[in-house]
Amino acid sequence: MDLVTKIIVICAVSALAIFALWRTGAKDATAPQQLPYLGGGTPDTHAWQRYHVRYYSMTLLFIAFEMEMMFMYPWAVVFVEEGGKAMMEMGMFLAILSIGIVYAWREGVFRWQ
């Protein structure tokens, strides 16, 4: 509750500040200057095109692996209390997920495709 209001206030203040800054200063460039920078070249298409993101299988691996964080945070809170049991269970969980990483590494996911 407290967290939510304060975060919203901080976001609103920063947005206002940046908007004010963004609108200040000298005027806009004229039309011929409105080309994206391309090291002297002239772009012949929009930059917003289909783009082959070369590491896409890494991102899929990432979202599956990242789920383990959800389980790890509550685990960290009770680790000292539960002791060896917590250690074993999380060790098993991480070992299972590590198999996935090793497999992905063997399949060359961490190279750009």
Partner: protein, 198 residues
């Protein structure tokens, strides 16, 4: 109406409006960031509902998932990102009807059900309880989730990775030979890679 209610209605409005704009905006990358906004609003509502961990973690998880979503939006983009109007829908009327019907049906169900009143005490150590639950009674659920995630990782690698150990996926994968440059070990894939049924 207190500040809590005001905040709740504002956040709900953000969640619903941005959820609707996801399917009304032209730019597909904007659409995924709008979905992220919807998730963030829901996460903050969850924080207000006395579940700080789940709420903040929703924001955390959804930020990265929507980032990946945006990348895939770029890879399968339908039009150059909002420069042209985009309306790629099928069975439109049916879908609107289904959506409205689902909403109406669920709302009716909510309004006509009497729920037991048993609110969570704000002083409950919810994160701690969750940890005990994970390690104790729900240990099997926790470990099963691990195996499920492993299956997901392997499955997504197999399905999406273009170059595997045995060469490119679209060239028909060939296992390595038993001796250098020899015949491939094991069963060879059929020429042309299986059935072509058009």
């Amino acid at each position: 109406m207190g500040l809590t209610d005001l905040l709740f209605f504002a956040l709900s409005a953000v969640a619903i409006v941005s959820g609707w704009r996801v399917f009304a905006t032209d730019s597909m990358v904007r659409a995924s960031f709008l979905l992220l906004l919807s998730f963030v609003a829901v996460g903050l509502i969850i924080v207000m509902l006395a579940a700080p961990y789940i709420g903040v973690a929703t924001v955390f998880m959804m930020a990265v998932e929507m980032m990946v979503m945006a990348l895939f939006m770029v890879m399968f983009m339908m039009n150059p990102a909002g420069l042209n109007p985009m309306m790629m829908v099928h069975q439109h009327r049916f879908s609107i009807a289904a959506g409205v019907l689902a909403f109406a049906g669920l709302t009716a169900a909510i309004l006509f059900t009497s729920f037991p009143e048993n609110s969570v005490d704000p002083s409950t150590p919810v994160v701690h309880d969750l940890g005990i639950e994970l390690l104790g009674p729900s240990m099997l659920i926790f470990e099963t989730a691990g195996v499920t995630l492993l299956a997901t990782m392997i499955g997504s690698v197999i399905l999406s990775s273009r170059s595997g150990r045995f060469g490119m996926a679209d060239q028909g994968s060939k296992p390595p030979g038993l001796e250098p440059d020899g015949e491939p070990a094991g069963r060879q894939p059929e020429q042309g890679g299986g059935h072509h049924h058009h």
